[in-house]
């Protein structure tokens, strides 16, 4: 065995982790670029400034949900409640603002807390009630779906009393025409997610739990607590999604939500994250979300009929994951 000195490896550390990330997402990055070129050639205004901004804005909600769900997926779990939790958090902050007279900043924080709380309950179900994640979060999906309707009285809750609420998402960032705040919010939160994932214990333990939960527990890690934290984090991200969603619509729509979770999971998985847990990449998730929204947008711009769009997204989903698996097999 040849002993390498330590220091060069240390210096290479950053490069390596970056390189690993890039190789991790190489295939989907390729797919993404090809897809964009394809649409651009057929419809040059696909890459018009306005349309790019439209795509980015359309990525925001799904991107935030996908980021949250990614952490759960790293642990080998799944969260199918994020869509409904998102809605529930926005409905609750709407109620807080209009009925309980919360100030705007408080309202926003309250919405986040509601999301995190739902996530914590999911985590509680998974750890203390021994529910499989799919079941715990399916129950949460049904519960928040019902509660959103009950709490709102089955009516949209409007944020019109808080002028400026709509600007949170759709105002122009630094006054740049067409550059929505929501996009910056997504970018900032994605960077935070990246840091949480790669530099903190929560990311490390998410992967460790996904890789071998029992071994992690026997290493003295309080797996249950970390899992609750991770599900709460996922709920918190759903709360972020709820903020962007309700701000874009200037209202909380209680009936919305179901269906968004699948898209979020699809984004995470297209982004190269294995549902078995134990490995993953935040950058991948974001690209996955971008692929979905730019594909949908492209199909719309090409006036592909709505019914075919769903089928095409399905095929792309399968192929993207397939190519990614192939790359890994050959690596």
């Amino acid at each position: 065995m040849i002993k390498g000195s330590i220091s060069p490896k240390m210096n290479n550390k950053m490069n390596k982790s970056l390189r690993r990330d890039i190789s991790h997402i190489a295939i989907i990055l390729g797919i993404f670029v090809l897809m964009i070129l394809f649409f651009f050639i057929l419809k040059p205004n696909y890459l018009s400034y306005d349309n790019i901004m439209t795509i980015l804005l359309a990525t925001c909600v799904n991107g935030l949900l996908a980021l949250g769900v990614s952490f759960v997926i790293f642990t080998g779990g799944i969260d199918i409640s994020v869509g409904c939790v998102m809605t529930f958090s926005s409905v609750m902050s709407g109620i807080a603002l209009t009925k309980w007279g919360f100030s705007l900043p408080l309202t926003i924080v309250f919405g986040f807390l509601v999301g995190a709380f739902c996530g914590a309950v999911n985590g509680f179900g998974v750890t203390k009630m021994f529910l499989p994640p799919f079941i715990a979060t399916m129950a949460m999906q049904m519960i928040t779906k019902g509660l959103s309707l009950v709490v709102s009285g089955i009516k949209p809750v409007y944020f019109t009393s808080a002028p400026g609420y709509q600007n949170i998402a759709t105002g122009n960032f630094l006054g740049i025409q067409g550059f929505y705040n929501a996009i910056i919010i997504l970018i900032v939160i994605a960077v935070i997610a990246y840091i949480i994932f790669s530099k903190t214990l929560i990311g490390r333990f998410a992967l460790a739990i996904g890789s071998n939960e029992e071994a992690t527990r026997l290493s003295g890690v309080k797996v249950d607590n970390w899992k609750i934290a991770i599900y709460s984090l996922c709920g918190l991200f759903a709360g972020f999604g709820g903020l962007i969603m309700s701000s874009r619509l200037n209202s909380a729509q209680p009936q919305l939500g179901a269906g968004y979770e699948l898209e979020a999971i699809a984004a995470a998985v297209i982004g190269g994250n294995s549902l078995n847990g134990g490995e993953g990449s935040i950058v991948g998730t974001i690209i996955g979300a971008l692929i979905i929204s730019s594909l949908t947008n492209g199909l719309r711009i090409m006036s592909v009929s709505t019914e075919l769009q769903s089928a095409i997204v399905g095929v792309v989903l399968a192929l993207a994951v397939y190519f990614d698996k192939m790359r890994r097999k050959n690596a």
């Binding site: 306005d50 349309n51 089955i154 949209p156 874009r248 009936q255 919305l256 949908t296 719309r300 709505t306």
Partner: protein, 298 residues
């Protein structure tokens, strides 16, 4: 003409975005719109979110449609509030805005729709007439949130409560417009209230579902059924008298008139700001008459 033309096509382009997509109602609107497009030589696209609840998807669709530089946009907004800003910008660019069905609020230069409250009241009137002003009614709705659906229930309830004191509405349940679920809902309702005389349903899925539920419960014609919208199954039920009657709203006409209004706006002609496409009661006795027959669709 300030509106820009699509580069690949000389025909003016009109983007239509509906509330939903899968229900026959929207397909009938689409059919009318396509007929008008042919007649007036314009190009249209017709789309809608897969669920009639996905507001943000509809907003994305609208934005994407605008990226294609349409001459006009026709929209049935799920939530008017959510599109007002975008429509304002579009209008400023010279794009003409037409509303249909649920409409688009202030921004529309013309609005083609039926009044769902009024249509539901018409259903209530007929139901009351059939019950001779006395009896118990159950309602199977298709959504608690979509505006049309809510109005179709509210209009019915209001009318009955106001004008027919001897008629009681004993239960309102929702079946998502899913035929099977609506059948189960109906049967559950009959179990809970065996004395129901008539069931009112708010769309095609609810109606056909309830129709099957009644059949399965062996209560067809014993419990009367009033429907909404149209489809082959409903037409057959109405013809046989197993559905006593239903309301149709002429969605084909709505689609046609929406495109027509947009074309007229593009040509600088004057257009009425509100175009009522009406609502009609149909039953076995009148469904083959000339003014009803074309309004029924499969």
């Amino acid at each position: 003409q300030p509106a820009s033309k699509d580069t690949q096509d000389d025909k003016p382009y009109i983007a239509m975005i509906a509330l939903g997509y899968g229900h026959q109602f929207w397909q009938a609107v689409r059919q009318g719109a396509e007929e008008a497009a042919k007649d007036y030589n314009v190009r249209i696209t017709f789309e809608g979110p897969e669920e009639e609840t996905m507001v943000d998807k509809q907003v994305d669709m609208l934005k994407t449609a605008l990226a294609n530089n349409p001459a006009a946009v026709a929209l049935a907004a799920i939530d008017v509030e959510s599109v007002t800003g975008i429509l304002k910008d579009a209008k400023a660019k010279g794009i003409r805005i037409v509303g249909f069905d649920s409409g688009t609020g202030e921004e529309a230069e013309a609005h083609c729709s039926t009044d769902n409250l009024q249509a539901a009241a018409l259903a209530a009137e007929n139901a009351a007439r059939i019950l001779n002003g006395k009896g118990k009614i159950g309602i199977v709705g298709h959504s608690q949130t979509v505006i049309d659906a809510v109005q179709r229930v509210d209009g019915f309830v209001e009318k009955i409560e106001k004008e027919y004191p001897d008629i009681e509405i004993v239960d309102i349940q929702y079946g998502d417009g899913d035929h099977l679920k609506s059948a189960e809902v109906t049967k559950g309702m009959l179990q809970a209230h065996p004395d129901i005389d008539l069931i009112y349903t708010s769309n095609e899925g609810a109606c056909v579902g309830a129709y099957n539920g009644l059949k399965e419960a062996g209560k067809i014609k014993e419990v009367l059924l009033v429907g909404f919208d149209s489809s082959a199954a409903m037409k057959e039920g109405v013809r046989s008298g197993e559905i006593v009657g239903a309301i149709t709203q002429d969605p084909v006409g709505m689609g046609y008139k929406t495109v027509e209004a947009a074309v007229k706006l593009l040509n600088g002609e004057k257009v009425d700001s509100f175009i009522d496409t009406g609502c009609y009661w149909y039953d076995a006795s009148n469904m083959d008459e000339d003014h009803i027959k074309p309004l029924l669709y499969d």
